[in-house]
Amino acid sequence: MTDIAHVQRLHFTSPGTKARLRRRRAAEARFRAYGIVAIVVSIAFLVILFGTIFSNAYTALEQTHLRLKVTFDASRIDPQNTGDLEVIRTGDFGGIVKAALRERFPEVTGRRDKRRLYAIVSPGAVFDIQESVIADPTLIGTSQALWVIASDDVDMLMKGFIPRDVPESDRRLNDKQIAWVDTLIADNHIEKRFNTRFFTAGDSREPELAGIWGAVVGTFFTMVVTVALAFPIGVATAVYMQEFAPKNRWTDLIEVNINNLAAVPSIVFGLLGLAVFLNVAHLPRSAPVVGGMVLALMTLPTIIIAGRAALGAVPPSIREAALGIGASRMQATFHHVLPLAMPGILSGTIIGMARALGETAPLLMIGMVAFIVDIPKGPFDPATVLPVQVFLWADSPERAFVERLSAAIVVLLMFLVLMNGAAVYLRKKFERRW
């Protein structure tokens, strides 16, 4: 006995044991550190991602405007003095803007310089002036100091995205244009204002005129169609599968199908939409109704799976009590089980909708990538949706689109946060623990 105790004491304190123990503890610490590093890295990715987007996005809230003294020359707008709005509409408003610019910078001569001068004002300024005259024809013949929208290059210069210290040939604005902008700055005739157009306009080739409202409306119609199709069909399927379906091959087949559809890549649903809805059923291209149908098929599995889980969580005693006082199975389900499961089903639906809201690939397949300026008026009008709008802008070379698409992403993320928040709220507030 004493020998063994002696050996063991030696063993636990021997240098070899101590070294082994140190190694094992070091390995333990290392392993734990790997875990912490992994989590820190993923959260760092998240922070960098959001940081990039928000830091790019906030400048889109402002748009540069120039102050110009505009003369509403009657000879350019309405030479015969008819007062007819149709005549006024065809007036030479481009000429008025150009004249105002020439008046502001009388020293500019030469065709090339003049063209560069005209380029500091956005083409949209012409339409703005046209609209203000149509709204108030008494302006004709007067001279007003107006704030007109600047071109995207001037806007980028004002926001500091066009560096002044690089060679002239590497810049979108040349030295003269920068000098003109500098005089405007010196006179306080240039300023950044809140960019309302971004929230009210449709798409445009000119970044300073482009807005997200068209895409927001298109998203709205698409989502309405998706909910209108996916929610009733999804709930009906979940109810049937969970409450009524006999256990046989047919229901097994349905179940396997639902689980597989949940994992099919979204672009495949786009191919289905293209082949079936567009080429066989001849539904309109680029229309929210088709987009909604494709997204509904894609969201169905999510709703069904969430619905079944929610229905399954309702305890059998509820059904038995209803059946016991003479309700039919249909009545027990629709009057008692389904209302109790509704919060769970609704939060599953909202999460499915949030996924559909961020989906882009299947909509590319059915032509919702078209360049559409008009705000859609119904689900059959050509439209685009927010994520596709982001994709379209990311394809454009202009630097000014980067801030706009970042802002569009922020709007999209805000919708997603709202929807997910609503889902969490519903679950927390109404879900019962039995």
Partner: protein
């Protein structure tokens, strides 16, 4: 009167039918409910169903078919229809339609065209009016006929419930129809593609340049449809994504489930889930406008040639997106390992990391493999990141710094924009889609099977 007005009137009739039926049921027993077999509301619903359902079915079918019918009539009535090719006929029909609604017409408007347009308008009116008449007659007939059944002993509830049951079953079969629709549409178009391009060339060809000739004698017109470069590109980007996602996801899952205190776990887990909820187009933007330029500049500083559409940028960002898939699935799997296994290992004097490495991970391995397979299938099918950040040119390379293209990128580039639908170019997209569908489906089936089998082991 248009379709939506017609649908609204059917709906109004059905609602009316509900109230009429309910009232009749009450009157049949002189207000003495106990004598009724079913509740008055069931009688009402019975009438409403008979009034609304057949009419609605006719309405939907009619609305879908009317265009085809009108077109067939129109083409029959055209004197020159037999001499035209399918494409010319389509253009002619389109012009006639445009003329009828007063749109811009692509050809000279002669009296023949005008007459055809008038005929088209007339046909449209007639078809629509007959649809209206048929629908309304059916609705009203249903409304009147079903009322005759209302007697005190009539089993209205059972009849109504039978209809609801049929509707429920019909909804649940939609999943099967969707799968069948996907498989059939992909298969059908892919077979048409394989009529033009041999199957073996598609699957084993080394060159991909999907051009089709506009003229017969065009130089370099023969498109090459060898999909190996696309498969290789997809594989490369997926591999990079998994090199990023698998260790990070797995280690996060291990830390969160084994080490992290409850507070950390409950706040970090939702943060990781956010990564899965961000729209893929946002990742695409991040990859194309932030990560790719950064990698390019970094590579230049290190003296490396990095393409601005490198596989690395797309792969890394895709890996970030996939982290939560790996971590949350592995987390479930690790949590499912029984506590007794851990306790046994601790009792033998193992440290926590030794327990994890030598006991828990081997026990959870099948589930972890399953979760990684699901993540791979997600990466293969991912579209927006690669569309925005990967290249278009089909390079057969294993160098992650070069630009490669993937299956999904090619599907999108082949199908976006207006294209004729029977060229090899557009059909190739469906062949690619079919390949991808098969690959992701088998990955999913195997992974789900593995995960399920593993779960049963410890249940």
């Amino acid at each position: 009167m248009n379709i939506s007005l017609l649908a609204a009137s059917v709906l109004v009739l059905a609602v009316l039918g509900f109230f009429i039926g309910r009232k009749r049921a009450v009157r049949a027993v002189h207000g003495n409910f106990a004598e009724l077999n079913s509740l008055p509301a069931h009688h009402g619903t019975y009438v409403a169903v008979w009034c609304g359902l057949p009419a609605a079915i006719i309405l939907v079918i009619g609305a879908f078919l009317s265009d085809t019918i009108i077109e067939a009539f129109l083409i029959n009535s055209l004197p020159t229809a037999q001499d035209l090719s399918e494409g010319e006929l389509g253009l002619l029909v389109n012009d006639i339609k445009n003329l009828a609604i007063g749109d811009i017409v692509a050809r000279e408007v002669d009296p023949g065209l005008q007459a055809a347009a008038n005929r088209y308008s007339a046909l449209q009116t007639t078809t629509f009016m007959s649809l209206v008449v048929v629908t309304l007659v059916v609705a009203i007939a249903g409304l009147l006929a079903s009322q005759r059944f209302i007697t005190p002993m009539f089993r209205a509830r059972e009849n109504v419930e039978r209809v609801i049951r049929v509707l429920l079953i019909a909804s649940s079969t939609l999943a099967i129809f969707t799968t069948a629709g996907i498989v059939l549409s992909l298969l059908f178009e892919a077979l048409r593609f394989f009529n033009l391009v041999p199957f073996t060339e598609f699957l084993f060809g080394l060159e991909w340049s999907p051009q089709t000739a506009l003229r017969e004698d065009q130089v370099g017109s023969s498109g090459a449809f060898g999909a190996i470069p696309l498969f290789a590109g997809t594989f490369l980007i997926t591999l990079i994504a998994m090199i990023v996602a698998a260790p990070i996801g797995l280690m996060s899952a291990i830390y969160l489930s084994e080490y992290a205190p409850y507070k950390v776990r409950s706040s970090v887990k939702p943060l990781l889930e956010i990564l899965a909820g961000i729209p893929t187009v946002v990742y695409g933007f991040f990859a194309a406008l932030t990560v790719a330029p950064f990698l390019r500049d970094f590579g230049t500083a290190m003296g490396l040639e990095v393409s601005s559409e490198s596989a690395l940028a797309a792969g890394v960002v895709m890996g970030i997106m996939i982290i939560p898939f790996v971590s949350s699935l592995s987390d479930d799997v690790i949590n499912a390992v029984p506590q007794s296994l851990r306790d046994g290992a601790f009792a033998l004097g193992a440290t926590q990391s030794e327990t994890i490495k030598q006991v828990i991970l081997p026990a959870a391995l099948p589930g972890i493999v399953g979760s990684i397979m699901l993540a791979i299938s997600r990466a293969v099918g991912e579209t927006m990141i690669v569309v925005m950040a990967a290249g278009l040119a089909a390079n057969l390379t294993a160098n992650p710094l070069e630009s490669v293209t993937t299956v999904t990128v090619q599907i999108v580039t082949l199908l976006v924009g207006d294209q004729e639908f029977d060229s090899a170019k557009t059909l190739a997209a469906f062949a690619l889609g079919l390949t991808m569908f098969c690959v992701t489906l088998s990955l999913n089936v195997i992974a789900l099977h593995v995960v399920q089998k593993y779960r049963e082991q410890y249940d």
